[in-house]
Amino acid sequence: MSAPRPHGAAVIDRDMRRASRALSLLAFALMLLGLALSLGGHVRVGTPIDPTLLDLRSRPSRLMLWGILLLCLLPGVRVLIALSHYTAARRVGLVVVALLVLLELLASAVTGG
């Protein structure tokens, strides 16, 4: 016997949670990539770094910054999950999908991909 299919608020809740997880993974991946690139070439190993003099125009820094920005948007997704749970509003789900597409475009623009 198969489990009953979730519907209504449960589906939106599940989808939102997936979106939240995907966004957090993307944020952490961007931050790690930027950090790895910094360590790989843009920051010379063994030399002391003055963090206050970090050049935000470099690609690794921008990657990390985008990761931070995505991470900062996550609590907003969390609020939407909570709201969707109470309102079961399909529009909220659409807003999240639109937000994710927008973020993906922005991230592509930054990474040049």
Partner: protein
């Protein structure tokens, strides 16, 4: 390289210690970044706020209601808390770093006292702590205190649970367990509101923030796992003593 590793290890330690006490890592992280690494307070606060968000994102996978949070209450209070957080972040630019250190020290003392009082109330999962037959009261005072908690969070990069939980529990009549879970639900949203002020001002430095936030995230997971497996009674006394020492150091830095 050494600095990045140091930031990561510090973040991990702060996150672990914070989670062992049921707090965010900010209360340990900001002093370490300023006192040990010599970073400006505002850069430390920016990194700490991102760490709070990372930790909050990590636990967001679980449903908020499964943890016992009163989500409608949290969302209503969050309107005032987020506004307070943005205000705190904006005001932070005009407060001299020394004064910020003194305010931080006072908050550390408050958090230490809160940790001890909460320990006396019990860490258990009594049904009374999670009973649902309550109606939040005194909204005006509750909202006012929540906005204050948000301002403290935005100003100092801490979660502000030591203000929110007593406000919900003692002022609004919310059971302690539900108040704590609701505060945990709110903390990432509050930090996200104020971190944009720091981002806009250039106080979120990627090379400082990323290793630190990664460390705090890992530490929070580690601390939560440890907390479930060990008795933290004796350790709590040691950590509260550590907090008092940090508070004195920050006070010293301020004067």
């Amino acid at each position: 390289m050494g600095l990045l590793l140091g930031l990561f290890v510090s973040g991990t330690a702060a996150g672990t210690l914070g989670a062992l006490l049921g707090l965010g890592g900010g209360i340990f992280l900001v002093p370490v970044l300023t006192l040990v690494f010599g970073l400006p307070v505002r850069v430390a606060v920016g990194a700490s706020l991102v760490g709070v968000i990372a930790t909050s994102a990590g636990v967001a996978v679980a449903s908020s209601e499964e943890s016992g949070a009163d989500v409608p209450l949290g969302l209503r209070l969050e309107i005032a808390t987020a506004a307070g957080a943005v205000l705190g972040g904006l005001v932070g630019a005009f407060i001299p770093p020394r004064a910020l250190s003194i305010v931080f020290a006072l908050v550390v003392f408050g958090t230490a006292a809160y940790t001890l009082v909460k320990a006396r109330q019990g860490d258990g999962h009594d049904e009374a702590m999670y009973r649902r037959d309550y109606v939040p009261r005194r909204w005006g005072l509750g909202v006012t205190v929540s906005s204050l908690a948000g301002a403290v969070s935005g100003l100092l990069g801490v979660g502000g649970g030591f203000i929110k939980v007593p406000a919900m529990y003692a002022v609004m009549g919310v059971p302690l367990g539900i108040a704590t879970a609701t505060s945990n639900f709110m903390v990432g949203i509050t930090a996200a509101a104020s971190v944009f002020v720091y981002l806009g001002r250039g106080d979120v430095r990627p090379l400082v923030t990323v290793p630190t936030a990664m460390g705090v995230f890992l530490g929070a997971l580690l601390g939560s796992a440890l907390q479930a497996r060990m008795k933290v009674g004796a350790l709590r006394v040691v950590l509260v003593a550590l907090m008092l020492a940090i508070g004195v150091q920050m006070l010293w830095k301020g004067f």
